[in-house]
């Protein structure tokens, strides 16, 4: 409890006076960072939480999407899925606002268009992937990437826990297939594809863990293989950020390596609280809280 309290106190201390939290070294509210911080705070840190929710609500675009940060151009992006997850988790009044899931359902990666599908299938084979299986981009007008696809899948699954229409089910299925298609040859995920110009890419721990959060509930071969990879990879990892994501994935998959991962996270983090950024502190708090059996914001209940 000590470390968790310290993390939550530190997150509370670093709140911006205008509400929300800044990313990295910045002083301007970042939507991604604010979402993680909201998920990490205790119930009794209500003022900070309410200001964070206010920040999210006032930065939401009329079409339901979110920008990357306060003051950004009026164009929605990948943070829409995270904001929807965060608001749902803290039971914000807008939890049942359907604009964000609707925006996500309409948001499509560039390879969903027949012309780019054709190009990637015929003329542009340097990056090997199946363009029929597309997910979500970081920003409109670009192709699918693993992390925005995983977060969008989680947000949509949480928004439509049951009685999904054909459109929702089809979109979810496509996104899941996209993740399976882009897995690295030995398991795990890089940012996008597993193979470029015939060479296998190295998986990233955080990307792999986030992708695993979206592949639960069914027996996915890609998920099993990637969990095996993650179990080996976290042992060598010195980054609290990646360890926290790993732990959250292990919680969701009820993986027996969770305890070992938490032990490494505690060791790495205990000396680094003051120098870690809000993203890392928040994710560590979420991991510790979830590992203790409390609510996990990325969990999908069907």
């Amino acid at each position: 409890m000590g470390l968790l309290n310290d993390l939550q106190a530190e997150i509370g201390r670093r709140k911006l006076s205008t509400g929300g939290w800044a990313g990295g070294n910045g002083r301007r509210a970042s939507i991604e960072t604010t979402c993680y911080a909201l998920m990490a705070l205790r119930d009794d840190q209500r003022p900070a939480r309410e200001e964070g929710v206010d920040l999210l609500l006032r930065t939401q675009h009329p079409d339901g999407s979110w920008p990357a940060f306060e003051g950004d151009d009026p164009e929605g992006c990948w943070t829409t899925s995270l904001a929807a997850i965060a608001l749902r988790f803290v039971h914000a009044p807008s939890t049942h606002d359907e604009r964000a899931p609707r925006w996500l359902l309409h948001s499509k990666a560039r390879e969903s268009h027949w012309f780019w599908k054709w190009k990637f299938r015929t003329a542009d084979r340097a990056v090997q992937f199946n363009p029929d299986k597309y997910g979500w981009p970081w920003f409109p007008g670009t192709v699918s990437w693993v992390i925005p696809t995983a977060f969008s899948l989680i947000a949509l699954k949480q928004s439509f826990p049951c009685c999904r229409t054909g459109k929702v089910s089809d979109r979810l299925q496509l996104g899941i297939e996209m993740l399976q298609d882009r897995v690295c040859p030995g398991g795990g995920w890089n940012a996008g594809n597993g193979i470029v110009l015939g060479s296998a890419l190295k998986p990233h721990i955080d990307t792999t863990a986030i992708a695993l959060l979206a592949l639960t509930g069914d027996a996915y071969a890609a998920a099993r293989q990637s969990l095996s990879w993650l179990r080996r990879a976290f042992l060598e990892c010195s980054s609290a950020y990646s360890l926290a994501w790993s732990a959250i994935a292990f919680v969701v998959h009820h993986d027996p390596d969770l305890d070992r991962c938490m032990a490494v996270l505690h060791r790495v983090l205990s000396s680094k609280i003051s120098v870690s950024n809000i993203e890392t502190l928040s994710l560590a708090a979420i991991a510790i809280h979830a590992a203790e059996g409390h609510a996990n914001p990325f969990r999908v209940v069907i």
Partner: protein, 302 residues
């Protein structure tokens, strides 16, 4: 006018518009100095001896950095054991030390890795975290800095503006420190391509796929016209050839190149690699307005 006349007239107008468009200059200012200064230093290995080598090399240029804030922008992409992917950390440390000895007010190292969201892990794996910690040099994650919307000073990509990190825009003296590599999309990745790392992932994703769709060569030109590096210190001690920028093979060139002009630096580096810089689209075009790529307009200082 009958229909045939209309068609002919329309075709003529379209043709003229296209011709004008092609001839239209895509840059507003000619940034080329009369002559560009270059120094190619010889060294066989990465070691503490680089401190003196870089310091002595910088003194050849008689740079006035007294009281200025210096930003070093190395190329930190991905850690792959045995592959010369990243700017060597000894060279980054040596450059930081040299600028401090030249009375710079501050030296900061900044990078925004393209695919890797866990910058802390990357810094640890590459050894840069240790190097900077020993020398007490601060690091800024350019992917998560405060951002300023900036009008581009050239118009190759059609993007019009980009958000750049405050740290980059506020620096008095920007030093691009590329790892000399071949690149499967752009032919080479040198000091100008290295400036992709100043474009923030928080606004453009991991990778910065918006730039790929706008054209990599085109984006390089627009970025360098807008945040033109004042100086280049290139790591060509062990370069990468073949399937770069990640999976190529090491090639020992045993050189560190210093230059006060990024286009001149890249033209010289391409020649060092046995390539004709005219065949690299962004270097060829940069020779029209960003710097001097012709040998006769370069002054070799050593």
């Amino acid at each position: 006018m009958n229909r045939r006349d209309w068609l002919v007239a329309s075709a003529a107008v379209t043709g003229c518009a296209l011709a004008l468009g092609l001839q239209q200059r895509k840059y507003s200012r000619d940034l080329r100095p009369k002559r560009s200064r270059v120094a190619i230093l010889h060294t066989d290995q990465y070691s503490d001896k680089l401190d003196e080598l870089v310091y002595d090399g910088l003194r050849l240029f008689d740079l006035d950095v007294r009281g200025k804030s210096v930003l070093l922008k190395p190329n930190i992409v991905e850690y792959i054991h045995g592959k010369p992917v990243n700017t060597d950390t000894h060279l980054v440390g040596a450059a930081a030390e040299a600028f401090l000895r030249l009375d710079a007010a501050s030296v900061t190292v900044g990078e925004g890795p393209g695919h890797h969201r866990d910058t802390d892990l990357l810094l640890y794996e590459t050894g840069l975290a240790d190097q900077l910690s020993q020398r007490k040099i601060p690091f800024v994650d350019l992917n998560r800095d405060d951002l300023v919307k900036t009008k581009l000073k050239a118009n190759y990509s059609g993007l019009g503006h980009l958000w750049f990190p405050q740290t980059v825009l506020a620096s008095d003296f920007i030093v691009s420190m590329p790892k000399v590599k071949t690149h499967h999309w752009t032919g080479v990745t040198l000091s100008m391509k290295n400036m992709f790392g100043t474009v923030p992932g928080a606004r453009y994703g991991w990778p910065k796929n918006v730039l790929h769709w706008a054209g990599i060569h085109e984006s390089i030109l627009d970025i360098c016209a807008t945040v033109r590096p004042h100086f280049v210190i290139a790591d060509a001690i062990v370069a990468m050839e073949g399937d770069g920028p990640l999976n190529g093979t090491p090639r020992s060139l045993k050189k560190v190149l210093l230059a006060d002009d990024p286009a001149a630096a890249d033209a010289n580096l391409a020649r060092l690699m046995g390539l004709d810089p005219i065949h690299v689209a962004h270097i060829r075009e940069a020779g029209l307005f960003l710097g001097n790529i012709a040998v006769e307009r370069n002054l070799n200082l050593n």
